[in-house]
Structures are given as C-alpha cells and as structure tokens.
Symmetry: C2
Subunit: 210 residues, 2 copies
C-alpha cells in the first residue's frame, strides 16, 4: 500500500509499541503524548513521532495520541487485524510450546495443525491441535490456505523442508532451526536463533564488570 520503503529499524519497534498500547488500554488510559510514552518505553519522544509518521498522522496537536485508535492502526500496519493460518513443523517441545501459546490466536494466528516424522506422535493433539504425518503436508497446506509455517526441526532437515513448504504454497517461514534458509526472495523468513541469543547474553555477562 505505501510506496516509500519503511526502514527495518522502525518495523522492529512496532510490536513493542503495540504491546505498550495494549497495556495502556487495559489500564483504561485513553490518550497519551509521545512524551509520556517515551518515558514509559525508555525511548525518545522524537523517535516515537518519527516512527508513527512513517504511516500517517495518528496524533493531534495539543492532544497527543488516542490509545485505542493508535493500537488498532498499528494492528493494521502489522497485518494482525487479519487472520493468518499457521502450521507447526516439528512437534517436539518447542513446537508444542508454540501450540500451547493461546495469545497467538488472539492476534489472528490460527494454528491449524502440527506435523512430525515421528510415528509415535501422529494422531496426538496439543490443546486440540492435531499432529499429522509430514506426508499429508501438501494436501493440508492447500486445503487449509496455510500461509505461515513455524519450523522447529533440526537444522539438518530445515532447508529441504522449507523448500518443500514453499513449493506447496507457504509464503512465510518462522524459522527456529539453527541455520539460515536460502529461499526465493518472495518468501518471507523470520529467524529465531535461540543459541545466538544465548551467546549475546554470554557476551554481555562476560564483558560486564564496567
């Protein structure tokens, strides 16, 4: 919809704005200025105004921002005002952890099914979500209009599986495997590399001492 390219740094911050605005709503706050919000979030008010103005003038001079309006606008920007169908590849602990997390569904991410190669898991359910054999992937993806696949399998099989998923019509991979996926440029990949996160933590601990 927008023509000018929004910077990656801005996108990265949007979900955090969304989270804070949600909390403000729960607390019954109706309006907030960029200055108040900046104190809460520990960022500059300037950055908040700059970020939001990438998408349009959501505020009002002399008043600030209407919390619930802004909340909904950010939801639209993030595309979480629409439903997304999601499957989980790999029904191990991590896959099950994701399946158990009900908040995703509240944000429009419908977990349609889980898939695994382990015959002992097939047919079991996690919070009502069934585990299917990977042989049924193609049909399932097409029948259920699956756009997103969470990939929680060992890195050795990740790339091959990702390619398969894409060929079946998946548009986005939420990649938990400890490897980079090389996929066509029209496929979206969001990486969650836990081991890298832990190493960054290690760096900070090791180089603390001040």
């Amino acid at each position: 919809m927008d023509n000018k390219q929004i910077s990656k740094a801005v996108i990265k911050r949007l979900p955090r704005y969304y989270r804070y605005l949600g909390e403000l709503m729960q607390d019954g706050v109706e309006r907030i200025s960029s200055n108040e919000l900046s104190e809460k979030m520990k960022v500059t008010a300037s950055q908040i105004r700059q970020d939001l103005n990438n998408f349009g003038g959501f505020g009002q001079q002399g008043y600030g921002y209407n919390v619930s309006f802004l909340y909904n606008e950010i939801a639209k920007i993030l595309g979480i005002d629409k439903q997304h169908n999601l499957i989980i590849i790999g029904a191990g602990n991590l896959g099950q952890a994701i399946a158990n997390y009900t908040n995703f569904e509240r944000r429009g991410f419908m977990i349609k099914g889980m898939f695994d190669v382990n015959p002992r898991l097939i047919g079991m359910t996690v919070r009502g979500i069934e585990i299917y054999p990977v042989e049924q992937l193609e049909r399932f993806i097409k029948e259920n209009d699956v756009q997103i696949a969470a990939l929680t399998i060992p890195k050795e099989r990740a790339e091959e599986m990702a390619e398969k998923l894409v060929s079946y019509g998946v548009k986005a991979i939420w990649n938990f495997a400890h490897t980079d996926l090389n996929l066509p440029s029209d496929v979206v990949v969001e990486n969650v590399h836990l081991s890298e996160s832990l190493m960054r933590l290690s760096y900070k601990v090791s180089n603390m001492k001040k």
Copy 2:
C-alpha cells in the same frame, strides 16, 4: 578487558560468524578470506574485516583468516570458552524445550536445574535435569554458583521473579516473558519476545506483494 566500546550491531553479528566458522571447520576448511566468507554469509567483506578488527588483527595479509583460530577467538570474545551455570524458571513446554537442547551445554552453558510452582512437576526430570520448587531457589543459586536464569513464566509474575533472582545473586536473565524487565543496570537482560517476532513476520507477509 577492552576499553573502547564495541557497538551493539557488531555483537549481534558475532554469533553468526561463529556459526559459519563452525560449519567451515566441520567441512575441513582451514583458511578463508573475508571475501569468500562475505559471499557465503551475504554480507560485505568490508563489514567482516571491520567487525573483526574491533577485537584485534585475527587475519594475515595475503593469506586470510585461519578458520579454527578465528573460531576460538570469537568463542573467547563471546565468553563461551568458559562455563556458565544456568537455571530455568518455569518448567512448561518452553522451559523443557530449552532443557532438551543439548547444544547449549556444548557451548559451556550447564543447565543445573529447573524450577516451577506446580507441585505436580516437582521432582520430575527432563533429560536428567531435576525440577525443584521455587522455594529452594535462593539456596540453589548460591550453592551452584548460578549466573544465568532463563525466565519462561507468564509475564504477570516475571518482573517480581526477576527481582528475586537478582537478589539471590543471578547476574543475567534470559527473558522469554512478554514484558520488559526493569532491573538494576548491572544486571544483564536478553529478551526473546516470540510474539513480537511473529508480528514482524506478519508485517513482512502483509506488505510483501512487491
């Protein structure tokens, strides 16, 4: 040890270098130039050289970098050449997923125990790691020299628990709770906010179309 401040962007990239170097080692590659590595990793050779030179001259003109030497140097920088004792707070799926991930231990992160409030879980073990009641936290942390705590509990109890952990001597929190922790500045926090990651994915999917 170093005096000049290393930029956050550089630190963020280090674990990825480490991963690629590890793979090169496994493939029996002994030396690599910044140019070859840049092609593999899809970054500029300039960036690689700049990044590494924050920490010292690891390469050699006309030769490139010795893979295993560089691998070990980055391990030292990241502090993963030393052992870190870690506990997991919250023995749900996510906590168990972390406990099951053996690679962490290969990198020196020893998972000493898990803790939960649910009496039904107490005494159970995950891959030999025992689940203890939270009442034993203080003693356990002191007796086992625990530096790092992975926090996989609901956001409502996260801040309070984090403060407790810090008061017991924990120096770093690996935070999976969907909230920001406000802790003393000498405590290290590394956030893994899965719901924010999924929203970023949603943004990318929704604004794709090119």
